[in-house]
């Protein structure tokens, strides 16, 4: 599945931009200073926390190759030294809203996947189902954040695919009626001018529409995750 480009993790573009800025700053300002410190005092490892970010530098152990240490592509930014890791801390499991951490928190060094640059944002599928395009939506149509630009059919009930920001409709990456998975990139929006960092939050992001209470007669037990310890 890792070879399937359609399954590349897609994150909230606004978060992505914010992450880019933070990574740039951490890499340009903080890392060189930390690397110098690590070399000077002979420590094996150094970790600095700032807000939700954590920067950890580690001297490669003897006999360990740089390649063996390099994190998987697209997972962690690696700069300054091959043993440096910049990552966003995962929220605690009991985060009240249960929001997922972006799986590729510190990724997307400049030159990331096509279509993910600052001038483009992507509407991702809010659920597993079949993609239904909006009838009157054409490439070039101007949309605003929160506009419904399609839907995903989950057991016969449509869940809105909404524009994560203002822009012009660009490429539609999925054929009408084709299956989509949660978080899959569906429609590219070309952004007009500078991105508005808060556009997504104001409008509510498509992928955060609850997928439950739809279709299936089943009832998910509320509350926490049953532990297999019960077995």
């Amino acid at each position: 599945m890792a070879d399937d480009p359609e399954k590349t993790p897609v994150r909230d573009p606004q978060d992505r931009l914010a992450d880019h800025a933070t990574i740039e700053r951490l890499a340009d300002d903080l890392l060189p200073a930390l690397a110098a410190k690590l070399g000077a005092n002979g420590l094996g490892e150094l970790e600095v926390r700032e807000g939700t970010w954590r920067v950890r530098l580690r001297m490669p152990a003897d006999g360990e190759t740089a390649a063996a240490r390099r994190p998987a592509p697209g997972r962690q930014a690696s700069r300054g030294t091959d043993a440096a890791r910049v990552e966003r801390r995962r929220p605690n499991a009991s985060t009240p809203d249960g929001t997922a951490p972006a799986p590729a928190a510190a990724t997307d060094a400049p030159g990331g996947p096509p279509g993910s640059g600052p001038s483009r944002i992507i509407a991702t599928s809010p659920a597993v189902g079949y993609f239904r395009p909006k009838a009157d939506l054409r490439a070039g149509t101007k949309v605003r954040a929160g506009d419904r630009i399609g839907s995903v059919d989950v057991l016969g009930i449509g869940q809105d695919l909404v524009a994560p920001g203002d822009g012009l409709v660009g490429a539609t990456l999925v054929a009408a009626g084709a299956p989509v998975e949660y978080g899959q990139a569906v429609i590219v929006l070309e952004q007009l001018g500078e991105p508005r960092p808060n556009a997504t939050r104001e409008a509510g992001v498509g992928r955060d529409v609850p997928a439950d209470d739809l279709g299936a007669a089943g009832t998910a037990p509320g509350g926490g995750t049953p532990a297999p310890g019960a077995a």
Partner: protein, 454 residues
Amino acid sequence: MFERVLIANRGEIALRILRACRTMGIGAVVAYSEADRDSLAAQLADEAICIGPADAKRSYLSPSALISAAIVTGCEAIHPGYGFLSEDGGFAEAVAAHGLTFIGPSAEVLERFASKEASRSLMARHGLPTIPGSDGMLSDDAHALSEAARVGYPVLIKPSAGGGGKGMRMVRTPRELEAALRVCRSEARAAFGDDSLYLEKWLEDNRHVEVQVVVDRYGRGVHMGERDCSVQRRHQKIVEEAPTPALPPASRTELCERAIAAVVAAGYENVGTLEFLVDRDGGFYFIEINCRIQVEHPVTEMLTGIDLVATQIRIAAGEPLGFGQEDVTSSGHAFEFRINAEDAEHDFRPQAGRVDRFYAPGGPGVRFDSHLYAGYEVPSYYDSLLGKLVVWGPDRPSAIARSKAALDELVVDGITTNRAFHRALLENEVFVEGRVTTNLIDRIGTAAFLVPRN
């Protein structure tokens, strides 16, 4: 037989089901949450599909996401594993309503056994001894106090739904009972969305012994022997073994035969486990039935050589069992050690993070069911089970010797596990002599096991 099955679970059990599918020539689709994108099961699957965010309520606990995933990937059946929706009658019903097969008991059977208290009276009617307890659910504190007085202290407060020790407390006085009721109700509500509680008499120094049963759709059933799960911490199983050292062979046979007869008579189907408490005198009492494949099923597989997950899938597909009780033979002794990402020295606090190095143990009789690999990030959203070390030997002492060697061989770097606790347990006299009771670890404290020995 099914062509394609959706695996609606994660971790080691997703991998275990995947392996069963592979050996049966069934295509396996793994449903994963965003937090499990890099999981081993998702990587090894014939197809993997993201069903939702890390929050289980919107992924592994979402019937619509799972059923929709099964439909869009062309699956005919859904295997729920354990935990999550595995015993949810509503989910099983919804799966069937969409023309798919739920790999487990039917919705109707799940509903019949959904309430522990109702199952207890049902099994009592079919001839199994049960522990004296409250007459139905506790309506309020006054009812709880009068029922506890009638049954006699100490009593165990239990939630009707769920498992895993949540909402469960042993109390010795009315005063303790009043305080615990509030806590148990809120725990049960949070964990299972149902805060109904009942009471059972607490048996001092009891053992937890359970019987594995397998029943096809045509009412033909066999038992596959028992397992002893007395090594527990706060009602969570840590180590399981079979046969139980608590009972002589004749009593074990009697227990298993009565269990299978009762469960077939009560109309059960698919794989299941009947849990019993065994008291100091070898008396046994039915406590509950688990309508799913269990974490500790490999212990039974090691003794019998029967693939329980494959059997489960065959039964769900409508095949007859195809073998009888006389075909089930059991030999040797087996242990299962649950390797959890938790810090035993700090109150078993769950751990999350990156696994830097991982080497699984091997050798004769050693099986390690795990989704670990070097570089794997253990997410913080789910349970802490990293793997199950299952060790078989021709007898108990040799199984213990192999277990020690295997635990010493296991390497999991980068994340704290409870390996040292298991290793210390294997040196503990009470354990080695097969005398562990369910309250032992909580009574003497885990620290006692972790003190280095000379």
